[in-house]
Symmetry: C2
Subunit: 323 residues, 2 copies
């Protein structure tokens, strides 16, 4: 641990330790580059396909790292979290693999497929009202009842786990000029920023316009902790975490915003060129690259495609409307 780093923010060594720790559980996802997509975006893009990660998103990396670390530390017992879905399913599978039970607090308006995914991976769903107060209250009860909390993004072991995707990307594609990730609570971009210390790639992130609390926070210079999210990118509705905001302020070059229409168009483009159905959160990075040729044109860009969990019918409707 670097002595300059507070103990609850991971450093590069922690990400490498996490990478070794999750090796038996998480998949080394493929990195795809497509000449057609490169032509449309006027850059050389390398997509790290976490939509093909187990449980359908990068969240399985952080959840695995956190659960295996509990075991290493001799901490037994069931785990609990709140999640719009992807972290919940990921923690459910990680807990199941480790012989534990995961309790997942989910807002009543969660995507049905994400609710089902938590259950299919062995998790127990606890519904609450779609407010952060209701969510924290119910999680608080579970923790008071003895469950071990595993925060979805504002937690060192989670950040370290999420950073392993970028480590793999940098190993597979050396000399990237920049890397870009979606930004909700900030777990993925935090881990990515730490991982990027190895290679000097500049780090960018993207929020939906309807959940742009981090951009507001960067403008204000302090963490804006209230926001009423309104976006189709259901995975990015969270408020940025404390540790995450500190890392973003210090190490992220710029946070872009994109509209929901931009996101739908990017989902369609990704399907047309790469034949993968990705969730709206993932498509934000493609939308931002498309909107900002002044930043990305001619560059060698890594993009973390964060997840692919959405209902077939929803996906079809989203892309058909902009076709």
């Amino acid at each position: 641990m670097n002595p300059d780093t507070p103990p609850d923010i991971p450093d590069l060594a922690d990400i490498h330790l996490a990478r070794a720790r999750i090796d038996d559980w998480a998949r080394i996802t493929p990195v795809l580059s497509d000449p057609g997509l490169n032509g449309k975006l006027a850059c050389k893009l390398f997509c790290k396909c976490e939509n093909l990660q187990r449980t359908g998103s990068f969240k399985f990396r952080g959840a695995s790292n956190a659960v295996i670390k509990l075991r290493e530390d001799g901490i037994e017992g069931d785990v609990a979290t709140h999640s719009s879905g992807n972290h919940g399913a990921a923690l459910a599978l990680a807990a199941t693999l480790d012989g534990r039970q995961a309790h997942v607090v989910m807002p009543e308006n969660s995507v049905p497929m994400k609710i089902e995914a938590v259950r299919r991976n062995g998790g127990i769903v606890h519904f609450c009202a779609a407010t952060s107060e209701a969510r924290e209250e119910m999680l608080g009860k579970l923790v008071a009842d003895g469950k071990i909390p595993v925060h979805p993004y504002d937690f060192a072991d989670i950040i370290a786990g999420q950073g392993t995707a970028a480590i793999e990307l940098f190993q597979e594609v050396p000399s990237l000029d920049m890397v870009i990730t979606p930004l909700g609570g900030g777990g993925l971009v935090s881990g990515t920023a730490i991982a990027a210390r190895t290679c000097g790639a500049r780090v960018f992130a993207v929020e939906p316009e309807g959940a742009a609390d981090t951009v507001a926070s960067l403008q204000q210079g302090y963490r804006v902790n209230t926001w009423k999210p309104d976006t189709i990118a259901d995975g990015l509705r969270a408020i940025v975490g404390v540790r995450n905001f500190a890392l973003i302020q210090a190490e992220v070059t710029k946070v872009f915003t994109v509209s929901d229409v931009d996101i739908r168009r990017a989902m369609l483009l990704f399907w047309q060129e790469l034949r993968m159905a990705i969730e709206p959160s993932s498509a934000t990075v493609i939308a931002a690259i498309s909107n900002h040729p002044e930043v990305f044109s001619g560059k060698k860009v890594g993009a973390i495609i964060s997840g692919g969990n959405l209902d077939p019918g929803t996906w079809s409707t989203m892309v058909s409307e902009v076709a």
Copy 2:
């Protein structure tokens, strides 16, 4: 060239030559194995994801090999073929990359997205009635007009190109017990069977019940060359080719048939476990493995996922109906 092999059937060396030839054009597609899917199918499955190949199917391999070989042989001019779609789009892109034009004869009832894909890749579409006579007649006219025919499957350079997917699979996953591919005209399974001579994996193929001409041909002992196809697997409606049937008779262990309902269920299962939307033709292999535990259970199986080209709305409808 092995002296025992007729000059118009490729051998293993031809597939290795093809692999080197298409190296700059075709993508080395990822091989994915998923514990959840393995659990459901009771085998250890390795999916060679040709749905992520350029133009969205393995067909780009054969088309690239055929077009680059024309260039090597000093043969100039535009190319022509008939295709329900995937070979057409693949040949269109290969021709465009080589500075040629591709003319593609397509039945009037082709999937709209596949028509669009031919055009987007620079090809010219010629519509004909949905009969093999009409198709051959129109292709004949194009050839009489000087275009170079590139048959979609009954052609040595195409078979050699399609075999490169299996070569890559065997290199990435040694010691497979068996490999399974969809079967329409037979280009993919022919190339795969030749490639499998390197490693001793048994080769299986799958036809939809509504286009089971090869199974009928194997039963009769000669090539049944009439069949009125009726299946959702639009990529597998062709009659098996002459060279292809000879190779299948000699080197394929068994050809299974699956129903359209089996195919839809397999599309849904693949989505649930691997988060990829695959076309009905591709899903036949998953359906056959699911239906035949007596063959596949406990085995290390390679499956070539042939393509991912279908309309979002069509895909959504197909999988929703069996959910």
